[in-house]
Point group: C2
């Protein structure tokens, strides 16, 4: 991104979305946002500017030291939304929140945190739950962003075993990113049940690709399966209300 061009500033009330990580998760966020908004007509919905740079480098590869940092492109997204003048920013990608502090420092408007939204969602939906499994990318787990926030809320976080990342979660997320929700869902479901077997009271689907493969569980068992995408949607609606 080189030269600067002038754009008309947006009116109040626009949501800015940093998306494309991945693009299917972004469309899922926008769908859930629309279906969760109390509206009878188009005009009652939330005007939305999506900056969907799916070419942003892989977040987990960067955390694990095997790929470039996504930070420059994430900052470019914030700069774009700053210039456009959105009212609040949501980023439906858990792993990208490893760089949250740099992004929130750059943003000229509130920037919601998907991990805080998900943790709040556990308390709201299942206040009895104490041990909370977190199904996430290896990058999110390695950076401990769920662990810190769940502990601060006096909840006991539980992380998948190393071999579950390798054998189930990483390939499951890769299947979803390649558009095969069925193959992805089968692996991710198995990883979730391993957390329940180890004593989790609820499991956060803490990567926005994961809910796409586990729609059945989210529909039939909403107390035990917490959808981080839906949690961010509800935090967005609460903020803009």
């Amino acid at each position: 991104m080189t030269s600067l061009h002038s754009v008309p500033k947006l009116p109040a009330g626009w949501l800015g979305v940093i998306g494309g990580m991945g693009p299917l998760a972004t469309s899922d966020f926008l769908k859930k946002l629309t279906l969760s908004t109390q509206a009878q007509t188009d005009q009652q919905h939330i005007p939305t500017l999506l900056f969907g740079d799916c070419t942003t480098p892989d977040r987990t590869a960067s955390v694990l030291g095997s790929g470039p940092s996504p930070l420059p492109q994430l900052l470019a997204a914030v700069d774009f939304l700053n210039a456009a003048g959105v009212q609040v920013i949501a980023m439906p990608c858990n792993s990208a929140h490893c760089w949250y502090q740099d992004l929130v420092d750059r943003a000229q408007m509130p920037f919601l945190h998907i991990v805080d939204s998900s943790a709040q969602q556990v308390l709201a939906r299942n206040p009895q739950a104490r041990t909370i499994g977190v199904l996430s990318t290896e990058g999110t787990a390695r950076m401990g962003i769920y662990t810190q926030r769940l502990t601060a809320l006096h909840l006991q976080p539980m992380t998948p075993m190393n071999e579950d990342f390798t054998d189930l979660i990483s390939p499951g997320i890769a299947f979803v990113k390649a558009g095969d929700l069925e193959a992805g869902g089968a692996l991710l479901r198995k990883a979730a049940y391993r957390l329940f077997d180890r004593g989790a009271d609820a499991v956060i689907l803490g990567c926005t690709e994961i809910p796409l493969g586990m729609e059945h569980e989210l529909e039939t068992d909403p107390l035990r399966f917490i959808d981080s995408t839906q949690a961010l949607v509800e935090a967005t609606l609460k903020h803009l209300r």
Copy 2:
């Protein structure tokens, strides 16, 4: 929109989407775009800037003379995408194409036409079809945009009866816009079968809300039901290839 702000210009290859008309149809377009793209990783997908101004006035009300024109907000969307420097524009709303000429005159890049995309899709999927029913908003029908383009391709367009717009199509689309896909789908399906009863060989779902209520028909009978959203997706991918 008053003051001017500078946004960093995007690199080559970005798709600009004028959306929010309605927002559920926009998320459906983005989902179908992602699932139709040959990609194994996020980075192989198409970077997308969505200008989703769902507050744009209702297109059919404007055509029927009972509401303000959407044109100023549609032009603002084009101005925004011009400033950002997207490579091509897609607008997943058939009725908004009543103002296509003004928009394409303003755009500094190619602007795909959803009606052309849908007509081409009929030829590609069902080359035997001669009489083509068009299930659209009353605004799209009144402006004759499908009629002109289908006739130019030597196809025989068929428009719903006036009472079908009043009793089935307009309330069906309103149900989808309010998030009730089941109630909307029941009315829209009935309107589609009235076109088949009158002799249509295929029916274009020529309003991007309609495919959301008719997923079953699109899956089971893809020769006779043509999805204008999917048609625009395929035209977009063809353009960017």
